[in-house]
Symmetry: D2
Subunit: 176 residues, 4 copies
C-alpha cells in the first residue's frame, strides 16, 4: 500500500520515540497512524497504544501489520482524532504523524497527556502551526530539523543520498 507520505523513516522514528520517552505501563496515542509502524514500535514498551487514522485503508493495513508483529496491545480507531480522543481517558504520551486539524488535536492532547507530545511534519506550514499551537498552549519544548543522508554505493565509491528532511516538534505539559 502507498499511504500518503509513506511510513516514518527509521531514523526519524528512533528520534521521535526517544523524545516520547515511553515507559512500561504507559498509555500512548498515535494520531494519523498510517502503516502502524510507530504504533508497533511503541507497543514493545507501552502498556497500550490507541492508533487513530481517518483512512479505512490505513487502519486495515496497520491492523494486518500489528497482527503480523504480534502486537496485541494496539487498539485501532477509524475516524477523526478530534472526535475520538475525547472518548479516551488520560494519556502518558502522544505521537502525531499527521492530522488535518492539528491545532485542535494539540489542544485536546494538552489537556490529556501527562508526558510528551511529539509531532512529525514535512510541511513548513505544519511546522509553523505546531510551534505556534504549542506556544499558545504553553507546552512547547523544542523543534528539530532532521536531515538524514544515507550512503549509496556507486561505481567507484560511496556517496550520500539525502532523505526528505523532517521536523520533529516536541511538547510536554509543564515543560515550557
Amino acid at each position: 500500500m502507498r499511504l500518503k507520505g509513506g511510513p516514518t523513516q527509521d531514523e526519524v522514528m528512533a528520534v521521535s520515540l526517544a523524545k516520547l520517552d515511553i515507559l512500561p505501563g504507559d498509555l500512548v496515542a498515535d494520531i494519523g497512524c498510517g502503516t502502524g509502524k510507530v504504533s508497533i514500535a511503541a507497543s514493545r514498551v507501552a502498556e497500550r497504544i490507541y492508533a487513530i487514522d481517518q483512512r479505512p485503508e490505513a487502519i486495515a493495513y496497520a491492523r494486518r501489520e500489528a497482527a503480523a508483529a504480534s502486537a496485541g496491545n494496539i487498539e485501532f480507531f477509524e475516524g477523526d482524532a478530534v472526535e475520538i480522543l475525547p472518548g479516551i481517558g488520560h494519556l502518558s504520551a502522544a505521537f502525531v504523524g499527521g492530522s488535518r486539524r492539528l491545532p485542535e488535536v494539540l489542544e485536546i492532547l494538552a489537556g490529556k497527556v501527562q508526558g510528551r507530545i511529539v509531532v512529525n511534519a514535512v510541511m513548513v506550514g505544519t511546522l509553523h502551526e505546531a510551534i505556534q499551537s504549542m506556544q499558545r498552549l504553553d507546552i512547547f519544548i523544542e523543534a528539530l530539523h532532521l536531515q538524514v543522508s544515507r550512503s549509496s554505493a556507486i561505481a567507484n565509491g560511496v556517496m550520500f543520498k539525502p532523505n526528505n528532511p523532517v521536523y520533529v516538534i516536541v511538547g510536554g505539559v509543564g515543560c515550557s
Copy 2:
C-alpha cells in the same frame, strides 16, 4: 568533566541504538565509552555492557554516572580496546564512539560480534576509514550523515541552530 568530543548527542544516540538493535539478553561492547551515556542507555535493555576507554578520567566519570543511574550491569575496562577485546567472549553488538586504532578494532569485532557494529564519527578521515575497513571485512551495511538542527527562540520567533553533523557507520556480520 569535559571529555574530548563531549557526550553523544541525544538524537545521534537514539539513531545509533536503533541501528544496534539491542535485545534483552544481549552482550554489548561500548568502545570509547566516554561519559558512559551510550552504555547506560544500552544497559536498560541488554544483559551486560562492556565499557572500554583508555582515559582513566573517562572510566572514573562513567562509573559515577552508571552508579547514579543504578546501571549495575556495566563492566568497565580502562585501556586499549585492541588489547581488551580479545579477553572478552562473543558479543551481540558493539558501539564504537571513538578509537585511535579503528581498523584493528573493527577487525577484532568482525570476528566476535554476532549482530550489529555501529561507529560514530565526526571526522572525514574516520568516516572513510570505517567504510573502507568494513568493506574490506565484508560487513559494511550503510553509513548515515545526521544533521540535527534545534529550534532556538529569539526575540520574535523561532530559528534553527545546527548541531555538528555526525556520521553513523553500520556494519553487521553476514549483512554486506
Copy 3:
C-alpha cells in the same frame, strides 16, 4: 560593529546573488542592508544600488564599507523601507535581508520590480510569511534551505562545523 544577525554568509550571498540574476544597467534595492555586504557585491555589476536600513548604525557602517570598497554607485537611505520604496522608481531586482514589515515590503516590491526578488530568512515565521505573501501576490518561484558546513582542522583530521541554516525565498513578477 555587531549588527543583529551579522553579515550574510559568503555562500548564502553567492546563491542569493545568482538568484537575483543582476545584469549591467540594473537598478537594485537592498532592504535591510546591514553591513552593506550584499550591496557592495551587487554594485560590481548593477548600475545603481538603493541600500535601505532603519538602523543609523547600519547605514553608517555600510557607508564606510562602501567607501573602502570604492563602491560609488550605492545610494543609502536610513528609514523604513515601506516609506522609502514608494519614492524610488522602478527596480530591476530587490534583495530583502531583513524587514519587520515583510508582507508590506513584498507587496510594494511586487509592483515595482521587473526581475527577481530574493528574501533571506533564518526564522521559521519569516519563511512562512515570505512564502505566503509571495503566493498571495502570485510571484512565488521557490524557497531554498541552505545548510553550509565548513571544514575545521582538529588534532588529527578534518571535521565539518555547520553554519546556521538560511532560507532563500525567490520571487519574480510573472514567474509563478
Copy 4:
C-alpha cells in the same frame, strides 16, 4: 544528453564560482567540464576558459552549449587533463568538476594556478583524497558541505526536497 553526474547544481555552481573569485583577464581551466555549464558561466567574466573532458560526447555537448550561449572564449580539449594541462601555460584559477586522477591533477595545478583551485565532489573518497592531496601540496584552504533543499508545492502546503549534498574543496597557492 545524460552525462554521468549531470550538470552542476545552480547553487553549487554559484558557491564554486564565488570561491574561484574570477576576475576580468583571468585564464581558467575547467577540468571534467561535462555539459560546459561552469565553463560558460565563468566565460562571462574570464578572458579565456580551457575546458577539458575525456569523454567525446561531453566535449561535443559542451561545444554546442557554448555556441548557443555565444561563449566564444572557451577552448575545448578532449582527453586526459594530466596530459593536456602541461601544454597549457599558467592559470589564474581552476575548477575540477571531475577527474579519475585527482591527486595528479591537483599536483599539476598547484604548480600552475596563481589563484584558487576549486574541486566539486560527491563521493566521500574523493573528498578525502582532495583534502589530503591539497594538504600535502600545502594549498588547502577549506572544504564545504553544501546541502541545498528546494521547496516543492504539495496539495496543501510547501515542503523541502533535498538535492544530493556536494563537497566543495577549495585550495590556493600560498593560502594554506
